[in-house]
C-alpha cells in the first residue's frame, strides 16, 4: 500500500507486519475470512458430495461421518451446499461493494474537490438515498425486476454508493487543506490530477475499512433477500434460502436451520474483525477515537 509519508498516522512500512501479528482482531478476522474464501474456492473443484445429485433415500439425515452436517429434504449434503453457498454470498457482496466504490468514490472525491454547488447537490442526493429504507428498496428492486443473484447485486450495490461517497468525501476533505496539496496546486496540477495522485492514495485505508464493513453488510443483506426467495434461484444454493427451506422442517430436522445461519455469523464476524483490525493498523488515530 502506498502511503504518503507526510501523513501523520500512516504506518511505517517496516513495522506493519509486526503490528499486524500483534493485532488479535486482525489475525482472527483474517484467518476466518481466508478460511471462508478458501472453502468457497475449493467448492469450484471439489465438494464432499455432488449437490446436483439428489438421493431422496438419504433425506433429512442428521450428523454422521458420511455427512458431517447432515442432509436436506432432497438428500443433498449440507456441507457441500454451504461451501457452494459461500461462493454465492461472497460474489454478491463483493460485486456490490465494487459497484458502491466504483460509483461512490469518484462522486465523493469530486464533491470534495469542487466544493460549492456540486458538493451541495451531490450530498443532498446522498441524503435522499439514505432516506429510503435500504432493505425494503432492495426487496422492491429484486421483486419487481425479477429475483436472482444479479438483481440482488444491483439492489445491494446501489445502497453502497452513498456510503462510499460520504466516506470518500469526508476523507478527501481532511486531506485537501494539507501543505503537500497546496504544494501540488502551486505546481500547477489540476484538481483532477491532485485527486488521483494525492487524495485517493491517502484515503485508501478509510475505503478499505469501509469496504470490509459493507462486505459484511452485503452478506447479511443477500441472506435476507434469498431468505425471502429474491436472491440466487435454485438449484444454486444460498445460505438464506437454505434457512427458508429449513423453517418448515424445524420440528423434524432442526440442524438444517443451524449450520447455514452459523456460516453467515462466522463469515460476517470474520469480516467485521478484519475491518476493526485494519482500522487499528492503518490509522492509529481512529483507534483512539473508538
Amino acid at each position: 500500500m502506498s502511503m504518503d509519508p507526510t501523513i501523520p498516522g500512516a504506518p511505517p512500512e517496516r513495522g506493519f507486519l509486526r503490528l499486524a501479528l500483534a493485532n488479535r482482531s486482525f489475525l482472527i478476522g483474517c484467518a476466518i475470512t481466508l478460511a471462508v474464501a478458501g472453502l468457497a474456492l475449493l467448492s469450484f473443484f471439489w465438494t464432499p458430495y455432488d449437490i446436483t445429485h439428489l438421493t431422496v433415500a438419504d433425506r433429512l439425515k442428521g450428523l454422521s461421518t458420511n455427512h458431517p452436517l447432515g442432509t436436506d429434504h432432497l438428500g443433498r449434503d449440507i456441507l457441500s451446499m454451504i461451501m457452494i453457498g459461500a461462493r454465492n454470498s461472497i460474489a454478491v457482496a463483493i460485486v456490490a461493494v465494487l459497484i458502491g466504490m466504483g460509483i461512490g468514490v469518484p462522486l465523493g472525491a469530486w464533491a470534495a474537490a469542487r466544493g460549492g454547488l456540486v458538493d451541495e447537490v451531490l450530498m443532498r442526493f446522498n441524503d435522499l438515498v439514505f432516506a429510503f429504507p435500504a432493505l425494503l428498496s432492495a426487496i422492491m428492486i429484486t421483486a419487481i425486476f425479477g429475483p436472482g443473484a444479479l438483481n440482488a447485486i444491483i439492489a445491494i450495490g446501489i445502497f453502497n454508493v452513498p456510503v462510499f461517497a460520504r466516506v470518500a468525501r469526508a476523507g478527501a476533505l481532511s486531506i485537501w487543506p494539507r501543505e503537500f496539496i497546496l504544494a501540488a496546486r502551486a505546481a500547477g496540477k489540476s484538481r483532477t490530477l491532485i485527486t488521483i495522485e494525492h487524495i485517493l492514495p491517502n484515503i485508501t485505508a478509510l475505503l478499505l475499512v469501509q469496504g470490509t464493513i459493507q462486505f459484511a453488510l452485503g452478506i447479511l443483506a443477500e441472506a435476507g433477500l434469498s431468505y425471502l426467495g429474491l436472491g440466487a434461484q435454485p438449484p444454486m444454493p444460498s445460505w438464506g434460502r437454505m434457512l427458508f427451506e429449513a423453517q418448515t422442517r424445524m420440528i423434524v430436522a432442526p440442524h438444517l436451520a443451524l449450520f447455514p445461519g452459523l456460516a453467515i455469523v462466522v463469515t460476517v464476524l470474520g469480516l467485521n474483525l478484519l475491518g476493526d483490525g485494519l482500522r487499528d493498523l492503518l490509522d492509529p488515530r481512529l483507534r483512539r477515537e473508538r
Binding site: 441524503d127 429504507p133 425494503l136 441472506a223 429449513a246 453467515i264 467485521n272
Partner: protein, 315 residues
C-alpha cells in the same frame, strides 16, 4: 435554532418531493396493467376500458403523479388493486402491528444496550469489558431472521411457551397480542442492541477522557454520578443518531421478521403487494416509510438541541 429547524424541515420536504418522484417513476416503468390485474385475464375489453378510464390510467403521466401526490397530502393514498379497499385503510390496519413491534424492539434494544455500553466503558480493558464486547461483536454478525428461527425452535417448538407465529389481533385482548409480538421484538432487538452497545461504549469512552470528567472526579464526586450524569448526557449524541437510524431500520426491517412469524404488518403487506404487482400499495407504504425516516431525522436533530444546549445557539 428556529432558523435551523426551518431549514431542516424545508430540506425534509424537498427530500419527500424528490422521493415521491423517484418512487412514482420506478413503479411507472414496471410492466403490468393495474386494470387487467383487478379484473383478471378473462376480462371483457369494454369493462377493461371502462375501468382504466375510471382509475384515470388514460391520463398523462404527469397528471397522474400530481393526483397521487395531492391525494396523499389529504390522506388519500388511492385504492388497492387487489384488496379493493383504500390503501390508507390497509396501512392503518397494518401499522397497528408494525409500529408496536418496532417500538417494542427499539425499547428492548435501548434498555439492553445503554447499561451494557456504559458498564463496558466503565470497565475499559478489564475482562468484563472484553467479554461483553466480544459478545456484542458476535451479536452484530447475527442476521435477525436466523436469530428468530432459533427463538422459534427454542420457545415454540421445544418449550412450547409461545406460538411459533401468527397474530391474534388486538381484538383478542392486549396480552395475547403483545405475547405474539414478544419473540419477533426480541429477534429484531438483539442484533440492534449489539450495535447500539458498541456505539454507546465508544461514545462514553470519548467523553470519559474529557477534562471536566477528571475535574468532577477530582473534586470527590462519586464515580457513579459522574458516569450517569456528567458522562452519559454528553455521550448521548452519537447514541441518538444511531437510535434514529435504527427506528427507521426497525420499521422497514420488520419486513423479513414479519415473514418469519407470519405477522400481518406493513412489511408483509408491502411484500405481498410487490409479488401481486399491487403497485399503488407499494408506493403508499414506501412514501410512508420515507416520510417516517425524514421525520425521525428532524426529531433526532431536535433531540441534539435538547441534549446539548451549545447546539441551540450555534448553526
Amino acid at each position: 435554532m428556529i432558523a435551523y429547524l426551518i431549514k431542516r424541515i424545508a430540506i425534509g420536504l424537498v427530500t419527500l418531493a424528490v422521493a415521491s418522484a423517484v418512487v412514482f417513476c420506478v413503479l411507472e416503468i414496471v410492466p403490468g396493467d393495474p386494470a387487467l390485474l383487478m379484473l383478471g385475464m378473462n376480462a371483457e375489453p369494454e369493462a377493461l376500458a371502462a375501468l382504466r378510464d375510471e382509475m384515470g390510467l388514460n391520463q398523462p403521466v404527469l397528471l397522474r403523479y400530481v393526483d397521487w401526490v395531492s391525494g396523499m397530502m389529504v390522506g388519500d393514498f388511492g385504492r388497492s388493486y387487489t384488496y379493493s379497499s383504500p390503501v390508507i385503510d390497509l396501512i392503518a390496519e397494518r401499522v397497528l402491528v408494525s409500529l408496536p413491534l418496532a417500538l417494542m424492539a427499539l425499547f428492548l434494544s435501548t434498555a439492553i444496550a445503554l447499561p451494557v455500553g456504559i458498564f463496558s466503558a466503565a470497565r475499559r480493558g478489564k475482562a468484563a469489558d472484553t467479554m461483553v464486547m466480544g459478545a456484542a461483536q458476535v451479536g452484530v454478525a447475527i442476521p435477525n431472521f436466523w436469530f428468530a428461527l432459533l427463538l422459534i425452535y427454542l420457545f415454540a417448538v421445544w418449550l412450547r411457551l409461545v406460538p411459533a407465529g401468527g397474530f391474534p389481533g388486538w381484538g383478542a385482548g392486549v396480552w395475547p397480542a403483545v405475547k405474539a409480538l414478544i419473540m419477533p421484538a426480541v429477534a429484531l432487538a438483539l442484533p440492534q442492541a449489539a450495535i447500539l452497545a458498541r456505539v454507546t461504549r465508544s461514545a462514553m469512552l470519548e467523553v470519559l477522557g474529557e477534562d471536566y470528567i477528571r475535574t468532577a472526579r477530582a473534586k470527590g464526586m462519586p464515580r457513579r454520578i459522574v458516569l450517569w450524569h456528567h458522562a452519559l448526557r454528553n455521550a448521548l449524541i452519537p447514541v441518538l443518531t444511531i437510535l434514529g437510524l435504527q427506528f427507521a431500520f426497525l420499521l422497514a426491517g420488520t419486513i423479513i421478521i414479519e415473514n418469519v412469524f407470519y405477522l400481518p404488518g406493513l412489511g408483509r403487506l408491502v411484500f405481498q403487494a410487490i409479488t401481486q404487482r399491487d403497485l399503488i400499495v407499494v408506493e403508499g407504504v414506501m412514501m410512508l416509510l420515507v416520510a417516517t425516516v425524514v421525520l425521525v431525522n428532524i426529531l433526532v436533530d431536535i433531540g441534539y438541541a435538547i441534549v446539548d444546549p451549545r447546539l441551540r445557539t450555534r448553526r
